[in-house]
Symmetry: C2
Subunit: 205 residues, 2 copies
DNA sequence: GTCTATACCTCGATAGAC
DNA sequence: GTCTATCGAGGTATAGAC
């Protein structure tokens, strides 16, 4: 029963504490960035002592890495689920919708990634040109196929995907600015209507 | 001849050093965030000693604030220039184009703001709900007028403006990811074509 | 497994010679 | 104005009792 490299073996109690640490770390790292976060803050949020944190994880870095790695999959699921055999426009609009839901429901995760990418992706750089690029390449081919077959309007599939990232993640990553500009209005209601209309028009022949 | 609060009086040599410091600080702050940047790094990049930095600015914070404040105006210029009396679609497409140019030509400035907003805008929060909101409100009225007059398609003006921010700034803020996904291709050429087509379609009646 | 105490380092800022 | 030297706060990580 081998241990994972960054995490210790798991009993019930250890599992519970590990989870509490990761939950707290997500909170703090997403709010302050890697360097801005302190183990004190994370420990307090997790309800543990600082040395106890380091009993469960080898280092601050290890907590951060574990978070990024375990969230990467979740993050790419919506794109992975884009079905080549489904209805093109419906598939793309569903991708848009799921990404927007993720911004609304998982803003901390979005900001965790944003912090990492913004600073040059020092810890997940490899994953970007590896797994991510492969996945995007594959799905771009699917979209190009749809364009060529005349099922959606002709469009650059890479910039289409990037635009969906940009537009949806913006509502989580720049939330304070969006809320400041919108006043008291809920950002996501307007966003959903606006974005669906936008892509509806873009993809229509 | 009163001094500004954060900056000392200026002779030629002081001006040159101040500028070198701000230039270096922009480089480092945009790359590492406020907390992640160190005065040592900034001093080295500026070709000065660390105490000498603090001869020109009161503190690390003061350098950062000076940067944000002096860049805020530049940043909002394109929106400020949106002309109520110009051709609606042309005005909006020009706004889009100028914002994309800013991402291409001033990526460090974009990332400086992105870092600040992402972490909850602790240092420019007031500016967001003040100056920024006022400006956006005013321009949103202009756009709504265009919609109502049937000069462009009906569209939520706030989310329209937000979408332009999101789409253009993404190419600067998430540059490593964009480049990883696109391989060797220049992001901005494809982006310009894609985005102009997108808004052309959106705004057309 | 969890704590207190602490070692050790990095960083922002200051002192003081030149 | 600019430097070397250094202080003191705050940070990660470890030692060691329980």
């Amino acid at each position: 029963m081998p241990d994972t490299p960054t995490r210790k073996r798991e009993t019930r109690i250890q599992r519970r504490n590990s989870d509490a640490i990761l939950e707290a770390a997500l909170d703090i790292f997403s709010k302050r960035g890697f360097r801005g976060a302190t183990l004190d803050e994370i420990a307090e949020a997790a309800g543990l002592s600082k040395p106890n944190l380091l009993y469960y994880f080898d280092s601050k870095e290890a907590i951060h890495t574990e978070l990024l790695d375990s969230l990467m999959d979740t993050w790419l699921d919506p794109l992975r689920d884009l079905d080549p055999d489904g209805d093109p426009k419906a598939q793309l609009l569903q991708y848009l919708r799921r990404k927007l839901e993720m911004s609304r429901d998982l803003p901390r995760e979005s900001r965790l990634f944003a912090n990492e990418i913004l600073q040059g992706a020092p810890r997940i750089g490899a994953g970007l040109s590896g797994d991510l690029k492969s996945l995007v390449d594959a799905k771009a081919q699917v979209i190009r196929g749809w364009s060529d077959a005349g099922k959606i309007a002709p469009v650059d599939p890479y910039h289409l995907i990037i635009s969906i990232w940009a537009l949806t993640q913006h509502y989580a990553d720049f939330e304070v600015q969006v809320r400041a500009v919108l006043g008291g209005v809920d950002p996501y209601e307007g966003a959903e209507a606006f974005l669906e209309g936008l892509y509806e028009k873009l993809l229509s022949l």
